[in-house]
């Protein structure tokens, strides 16, 4: 058993019923070597101060609930080891660029709306009946979109994106990457229906390529890449339809 060490955790608190602006609170937490930041928050909640509110669930980096700012960087707190920060103190804040509901809990309504706006489902002109079996898709076709299907909706990329911070209309990294995922899926025929959201001013063209979204993504989805690919594809398609208006089938 490794020795217990004590680390200082400073948490941004916001209690809307009591205060108009956030305050800070510092806790001292004894931690084990294998503890993550989320473990410390749970220790605080269970044994020191039950009023601290935050979201979490799986504690294995796949449910996407526990994204917060840890020392200024968007992180999944279930994957941020305390020992990597010790002996310095750890500062935990709710994800930036989102309104704070309470303590470390942000309002994600806007994100959910944007997710839906890109129509993240298979769109087909004609559905194949289930009785006729699966759509065939080769491993290469799967590879085309697989990376963009790994998004866990943790919203770290929105917290990292200064464009989203300044322009809340921006559809944003995760939602565009998700739309791109369906556009690249060999089973899907919905590219046109997604264009008015994805290829709009609030879509890909709002992105000025800071690239920070891809840096913070815990699942290596690389939304920046999705956006740049869509820019190239959209431009090429527009150019094609300009030069050959008769040849634009899809």
């Amino acid at each position: 058993m490794s020795d217990l060490r004590t680390i200082k955790i400073t948490v941004l608190r916001y209690r809307p019923e009591e205060e108009d602006a956030p305050t800070e609170q510092t806790y001292e937490v004894e931690f084990r070597d294998d503890w993550v930041v989320l473990d410390a928050l749970n220790h605080i909640k269970d044994h020191i101060d039950g009023t601290l509110s935050f979201r979490w669930s799986c504690r294995m980096g796949v449910c996407g609930s526990c994204g917060m700012m840890v020392n200024g960087e968007p992180k999944l707190t279930c994957a941020a080891m305390l020992r990597d920060y010790y002996p310095n103190e750890v500062r935990v804040e709710p994800l930036v660029n989102f309104p704070i509901v309470r303590d470390l809990v942000i309002d994600m309504t806007d994100f959910m709306d944007k997710l839906k706006a890109v129509k993240p489902w298979i769109i087909r002109e004609e559905e194949k009946p289930v009785s006729e079996g699966e759509y065939l898709q080769t491993p290469d076709q799967l590879k085309d979109y697989k990376q963009f299907s790994q998004c866990i909706n943790c919203m770290l990329c929105y917290a990292a994106c200064p464009v989203y911070g300044l322009e809340h209309d921006f559809v944003g990294p995760a939602a565009i990457a998700l739309g791109h995922r369906y556009n690249l899926d060999s089973r899907d025929e919905g590219n046109q229906q997604r264009q008015h959201v994805i290829a709009s001013k609030e879509g890909i063209w709002e992105c000025t390529y800071v690239g920070e979204c891809s840096v913070v993504c815990p699942k290596h989805v690389d939304p920046a890449e999705a956006i740049q690919q869509t820019k190239v594809a959209t431009t090429t398609n527009r150019f094609k339809s300009l030069v050959m208006p008769w040849g634009n089938k899809k």
Partner: protein
């Protein structure tokens, strides 16, 4: 759709005007480099204005143009040109670096058969084409 007419008071954190310099108490290199890249366009634009003015002076006869060329050899103007050149180089470098983004780990816009061309080849190709184009233009300017 979420049925919730009961939204509660929220707090929106203000964004500091210096967000690109100090991001929540930390220097974020990528935000800074990003803003620097945005800033390059200012210098490129200024250079283009200057260049158009120079072409305009050509229509006013050789004397005006020569006077202009001489005024350009003053220290501050040379500094301006060096900065503009560096920014232009930086902008081109980052812009061409972006081309690798067309080639995802699995997915790529440029393919040979079913094989995706490695991103590094795309980048090297872009930089190569850039250098060749620069040499050709330089050759034309310096020899004609």
């Amino acid at each position: 759709m979420m049925l919730d007419s009961e939204t509660t008071k929220t707090y929106t954190r203000p964004i500091s005007k210096a967000w690109w310099l100090r991001d929540r108490g930390h220097f974020n290199r990528r935000y800074f480099m990003f803003l620097l890249r945005e800033l390059t366009s200012v210098f490129v634009a200024l250079y283009v204005v200057l260049f158009i003015y120079e072409i305009f002076l050509l229509t006013k006869g050789p004397d005006a143009h020569t006077a202009f060329r001489e005024s350009m050899s003053a220290g501050p103007w040379i500094a301006f040109h060096i900065i503009a050149l560096l920014f232009a180089l930086y902008h081109s470098y980052t812009w061409l670096g972006l081309t690798t983004k067309m080639q995802a780990a699995g997915r790529g816009l440029v393919k040979i058969g079913t094989k995706t061309l490695p991103p590094i080849l795309i980048a090297l190709g872009s930089y190569g084409a850039w250098i060749v184009a620069t040499c050709v233009i330089a050759y034309l300017f310096l020899t004609l």
